[in-house]
Amino acid sequence: MHIDKNITIEDLVDEFPFSVNFLSKKGIKCIACGEPIWGTLEEACLEKNFSQEEIQKFVDELNGLKNN
């Protein structure tokens, strides 16, 4: 599975657990009350006022981490 900005946080957490820690360092909490938050990666990033360029950078970095 390829990570793009439209992936749900639920799928991100399930398929790529390392994303939780990666995004947490950016101030984005994927887990609340023990459950993944609802919505997409893009929505979670926009909530924290990240730009589209920054979101794309996160996506690229996450795909990089996935392939390592």
Partner: protein
Amino acid sequence: MAIDINKVLNTLGIKEVNLGVSTGQNWHKTNGAITSSSSPADGKEIAKVKNATIEDYEMVVNMAQEAFKEWRLVPAPERGEIVRQIGLELRKYKNELGALVSYEMGKIFQEGLGEVQEMIDICDFAVGQSRLINGVSLQSERKEHRLFEQYQPLGIVGIVTSFNFPVAVWAWNSALAAIAGDVVIWKPSSKTPLTAIATQRIINDVLAKNNVPEGVFNLIVAKSSVMGDNFLADKRIPLLSVTGSTAVGQRVGGIVGKRLGKTILELGGNNAVIITPHADIKMAIASTVFGTVGTAGQRCTSTRRIIIHESVYDQVRDSMVNAYKSVATKIGNPLDEDFLVGPLIDIHSVNNFKNSVSEVQKEGGKILFGGEVMEGKSFESGNYVMPCIAEAENHYKIVQEETFAPIVYLIKYSGDIDDAIEINNNVPQGLSSCVFTLNMREAEKFVSAVGSDCGIANVNVGTSGAEIGGAFGGEKDTGGGRESGSDSWKIYMRRQTSTFNHSEELPLAQGIKFDF
């Protein structure tokens, strides 16, 4: 006595791969994703589930709409009779369902049994309520007119449950919805789908025996990409009851609010115990330890803060630390009745716990006990932590947040009960709270208009847990919803006011003349 989990799964009808879509008696084949459910206790896969597709979702909603047309015409006491039989069936399977709750979610077996008991209790409550769905008769201002209010069935109720109470919250909602004449669609937590499937299997026979229309009690195990915003935005579903985080609740409130639908939101808490100089300290400690470490701190009502008067602070602090030393020897497999604290739900919750332990220290707090992840034999799943006590101040960012794990903050106060209440209320959330005091003035003030701003405010009873007889829910970021007992049934119904004219005149209200 050791619990044989394979025997439990067999008794409950849980197979290696399970269908995740049911409309009551029938289970539907689906081509959705296959997901697996693992136990946080030992990390082992329990079973797999075939998730729903968007087509399955549409099929279920359509069937629920049709079932509602029939179900709303069944007299409420007859609907109550179905719920009574569901309660009896749950009694039969209490041990097995309690064990599966324990194994799939991680709470200790005793709490698993307690969860099923809550389901039974709310069924009993709903049976009684089915004969008490009443309205009011009011005095009309017009001669020979009658004014009255009554409650009508609402339609489809969407129920989204969380992992920490994987089946009780479904029962709170569906028992009341069913006697109200509504039909339900249940989306369980993706972390605990098997307890949901087992529950649906338990009620299968009752529905068959009583010819309950297919589509009254529906279950859909689905990913949020299949059943997420579309579920919330679906105008065919007039009421959504969602248990989860404040973040999820804000999303639900936004989407359902936009279409002017109704919601019951049961969201995060930041629950405090106040211990005043007039407290029975022994009682306060015993109660508070259950509140902080019970369910490994994963209840919405778990105690997160202890607000202690400076005159008894040292005594309470030392007693808490001593109590935790005893608890430390009672952490382990939740199915083993020797233990009092089980694992956290998964590694992400463990990381959140570790993060909070680290953050509170960065902000100036001091760890008094615990905070480590447990290692070694019996802890191989990596989900067990040593419950943590930290000294902190209420304004710390981490204290203002809810950490869904066993970390509790000790906060010292000086002055009188007003000062403690101010600290209690000075967080975004407003679910549960309590005061330990034998002083009548302190106790009364705590539950007065200038007291706790939470939905639950107890005196000499801890924050954690609640009886089903009272309305359950909280204020502020907790969402404002109420479910379970008292008059919570009303939100599952459509309120209607009627004026009857049995005169030969046609007087308008407020004496308005409109002759033509």
